[in-house]
Symmetry: C2
Subunit: 97 residues, 2 copies
DNA sequence: AATTATTTATCGGATTTCCGATAGATTTAA
DNA sequence: TTAAATCTATCGGAAATCCGATAAATAATT
């Protein structure tokens, strides 16, 4: 529950506060398949319990201060791992049909 | 076994043919922790069985034609999911201490 | 050649991750 | 105000993921 999906959810919510349904929709757009309700709601609950997300009266999730810090750390980790992301993109684009 | 680790291994080997030990080393550099032998060798076996990798007499792994195609597809998927990777990086860097 | 160190490989199991089914809650439409 | 549709939430279980322990194979050192 603390894998790539959590990371992606934090990132998406950092860009725009969203409800569970909106997050589901956005994930489907990006990944090409829709996460099941049994996937996304437990993730949101987990992140809320960890106080990385908070939710308002309209069920819109937003990052807490702690969530922003966690996101920053995860982004750093991400770019450590994918330090050559520009090269990845070039490789990707030059092979595009 | 077909998750992010496989993707990363394919990418690393596409840049440079490596042995299991060298891949382990490179992953440790990037991620900050060393994958256990019980993790990395099954992944290499899995990718070899799927004919995405081949291995020479010195145990150096390299991509097969099929492996290159798989990598291309995975890279496309990656950049679909992280379509705003530049924004991610900016966000990341501007928060760096 | 014998010993030691390193690398490769397998195995069983612990944990994580994710899903489909189900149900309750909320919203929308009739 | 019902009825229908959508959203939210939980549950149990299936599958994926990863590890540590162990052992076999290979390489390096003495």
């Amino acid at each position: 529950m603390k894998g790539f999906l959590s990371f992606l959810v934090l990132w998406l919510i950092s860009k725009k506060n969203m409800t569970g349904a909106e997050i589901t929709e956005e994930l489907e757009q990006r990944r090409g398949h829709r996460p099941s309700p049994g996937t996304i709601y437990p993730v949101l609950k987990y992140l809320t319990n960890k106080e990385l997300l908070k939710v308002d009266e309209n069920k819109k999730y937003s990052l807490t201060k702690k969530g922003e810090e966690e996101l920053d750390m995860s982004l750093n980790q991400f770019f450590d791992t994918f330090c050559d992301v520009d090269e990845m993109r070039r490789h990707c684009h030059c092979h595009r049909k």
